[in-house]
């Protein structure tokens, strides 16, 4: 059968940044507003202050056929989570509508409602029920869940004494045994050790290959998306950029972003910045995304109209809020003040990307160390995104919620 199991029509979600995002209203503002409202009306001014509005999603349309497994991909802040939350009925859309045919279950987090004081057995029932399973259904699948999670011995231990690996395994196991007609999954595959991740992907494959179940799957892990999904939806800035066959959509997503191909900048001192970007080690094309902890390099190609002596190259990396995260300079990295004339490429080596997942922007400067004067200034010349990855031995991937940089490289008991 090929009727759409999910039909999204013109969905949009508006947030006003002044108020509802992140922070709750304070009673004081409400009271002040109430108290001053009549006066504002008297003075003829509009009663609401101009608030900054933000469309997290705008005019999103797509259809998913029954039995289809769709990967929803996009960069941080593209609106993936908002879309999943709308389809999971957690938040209401501002405009548009979506029709879902079948029982829906969503998995935006593993272990929602797990209580640390309760035992593994108790949490299986509690979490199963929160995810929408009937008690009878949980009882039927109980043994299967326990076996999948490999926690037989600790069933009657409070989960607060579980290792993080056991906790995550148990939580995923409960969720994996849901049998909805439409399953919405957010990034939960990126949990556990590599062995368990393989098991999860295997389980997801079993779930999706029955042909009965429709799955919407959000992930940053292109490998998992490729392995599981038949089609994809690529979200950018809150709208659907590409949709269709999964390979096409992934190809589009991994394509170097526009800013990496930005036209060159020429300063009034005749220095020309041809291009700059982040590359895979000895890779040919600039990358839009880099995995956390992977090696990469920053390459900057420039030339000068006339000989320019005693130059130094400075690169500054800013996070998405505009805070300076890191600065590096050619002098400190092993290239002495140089004379620039013909085209040269500078290569800064990054052994391992230690910036946490998130969006970053890079500015490039040329200056002279002895007078401190800036001779070329290219603000936000290119952007890149760091994608989450699980640290070896870790259980949950680091995300942008974990800060800006990883500053530690080991721990031992002494």
């Amino acid at each position: 059968m090929t009727f759409p199991a999910v039909k999204v029509e013109g969905i949009g979600k508006l947030y006003d940044l002044g108020k509802s995002r992140g922070q709750a209203d304070s009673l004081r503002t409400a009271i002040t507003n109430m108290a001053t409202a009549p006066f504002r009306r008297l003075s003829g001014r509009s009663s609401s202050e101009p608030v900054e509005e933000f469309w997290a999603l705008r005019d999103v349309n797509f259809e998913v056929k029954q039995g289809e497994v769709v990967g929803i991909i996009g960069r941080n802040g593209a609106g993936k989570s908002t879309l999943l939350k709308i389809l999971s009925r957690i938040v209401e859309p501002t405009v548009g509508r979506a029709v879902m045919r079948g029982r829906v279950a969503s998995l935006l987090e593993v272990g929602t409602g797990f209580h640390p004081e309760l035992t593994g057995r108790e949490n299986i029932y509690l979490n199963g029920s929160i995810l929408g399973m009937r008690k009878r259904e949980i009882a039927q699948k109980f043994d299967e869940i326990v076996e999948f999670a490999e926690v037989e011995k600790f069933l009657d231990t409070p989960v607060k004494r579980y290792s993080s690996g056991m906790y995550v395994r148990l939580a995923f196991a409960v969720a994996a045994h849901l049998e909805p007609e439409i399953l919405i999954v957010d990034e939960v595959l990126a949990v556990g050790d590599t062995e368990f991740q393989k098991k999860c992907i295997g389980k997801m494959k079993d779930i999706s290959q029955g042909g009965e179940r429709t799955v919407l799957f959000v992930s940053h892990n292109m490998g998992a998306v490729r392995a599981l999904c038949t089609s994809g939806v690529y979200l950018a800035n809150g709208t659907v950029k590409t949709q269709g066959d999964v390979e096409t959509v992934i190809g589009e997503y991994l394509k170097p972003n526009e800013s990496a191909l930005r036209s060159s900048v020429v300063s009034k001192y005749g220095i020309e910045l041809h291009d700059a970007g982040i590359y895979a080690p000895s890779g040919r094309d600039p990358l839009a995304v880099v995995y956390f902890l992977e090696p990469c390099e920053v390459r900057i190609r420039m030339s000068a109209a006339q000989g320019f002596a005693m130059a130094a190259l400075v690169v500054r990396v800013y996070d998405d809020l505009g805070a300076l995260v890191s600065t590096f300079c050619s002098c400190e990295e092993g290239v002495d003040a140089f004379t620039m004339r013909e085209e040269r490429t500078f290569l800064f080596d990054i052994n391992s990307m230690q910036l946490m997942p998130g969006q970053y922007s890079v500015s490039v400067y040329i200056y002279r160390p002895h007078d401190g004067q800036v001779y070329l200034e290219a603000d936000s010349f290119f952007d890149f995104e760091v994608l989450p990855a699980v640290v070896p031995g870790g259980m949950l991937p680091y995300t942008h919620q974990h800060g800006v940089a990883r500053i530690v490289n080991g721990c031992k008991l002494i």
Partner: protein, 290 residues
């Protein structure tokens, strides 16, 4: 059922077997009706949430469920000593200990429920932001948990009645009705405060203070009879006032103040309806601001 094309409906049903639920997601402006069907299908979940609340509350305490017995017992002893013995607060001819305990049963239920329900949403934000479930269940579960303590208090009360040789009259048959009204009032206030606390975190501080003050306008430590008769109606707007007096009438065979009870029942119903609708109206924004 009667109109339309029966054949078509039948084939459609056969096509996508398990009851082919269709869910439409769209913005819903204004007041939102209560989805009774959904609440009924999630009754098991409510059961699990109540069970979790009760279990977790006493899990790491050495004395465990004993606290549900000790807490009201100690409160009663302190009140009896201070208000009964030293301050000589009248108690309508009933031994003060029994008198105050009869008031403490509904009061403790009310105050614990309201305090916990009002914090329930902000203490379990992941249930708002990571999953969909009928949100009303969350504060309702806190109240369900308090019902278990209430049952235990009734057990202690039976012992106290026996100690004083008090035999309740026929009026005790009305206690289930009074309980129902108590739960209704508590649900109404609990849900409204839970919803408002999500938006205005100030209520985390307001609620405990509010409950503390509420004790003084409820006839827990004193009988309504100490207040001039012409003010009884005003007192009864507080649902706990008419209800506590009614519990006492039921247990001790005291005369019933029907008009006060009616006012309290009416205000309980109003609070319940208001609480439910206010909750429903604000519910859609919970995940955005939590």
């Amino acid at each position: 059922m009667t109109s339309g094309r029966p054949e078509e409906a039948a084939t459609e049903h056969a096509d996508h077997h398990p009851a082919a639920v269709e869910l439409v997601i769209r913005p819903r402006p204004g007041w939102i009706a209560i989805d009774w069907k959904e609440l009924w299908t999630s009754r098991e979940l409510l059961g699990f949430l109540v069970w979790r609340d009760v279990k977790v509350r006493y899990k790491q305490a050495v004395l465990g469920v004993m606290w549900a017995v000790l807490q009201p017992l100690f409160t009663m002893l302190i009140f009896t000593a201070i208000f009964g013995k030293f301050a000589k607060v009248p108690s309508d001819g009933v031994p003060y200990a029994a008198f105050v305990f009869a008031g403490l049963i509904p009061w403790t239920f009310f105050s614990n429920s309201v305090t916990q329900a009002s914090q329930s949403l902000i203490n379990q934000q992941s249930l708002l932001t990571k999953i969909y479930l009928p949100r009303i269940l969350i504060p309702a579960a806190s109240i369900g948990g308090a019902l278990v303590d209430l049952a235990i208090s009734f057990g202690i009360f039976a012992v106290i009645l026996m100690y004083y040789g008090i035999v309740p009259g026929w009026g005790v048959l009305l206690v289930p009705v009074l309980l129902l009204v108590t739960v209704a009032a508590t649900l109404g206030i609990g849900m409204a405060l839970a919803a408002i606390t999500v938006t205005y975190r100030d209520f985390r501080f307001v609620v405990p203070f509010m409950i503390q003050s509420w004790l003084y306008i409820s006839p827990v430590i004193y009988p309504v009879s100490v207040i001039p008769k012409e003010w009884h109606w005003a007192l009864a707007i507080n649902p706990m006032s008419g209800l506590i007096e009614a519990y006492r009438s039921a247990f001790f065979g005291l005369p019933w103040d029907i008009s006060s009870l009616c006012i309290s029942i009416a205000s309980s119903v109003v609070l319940l309806v208001f609480g439910l609708f206010y909750f429903r109206k604000t519910e859609r924004r919970f995940a955005d601001i939590a």
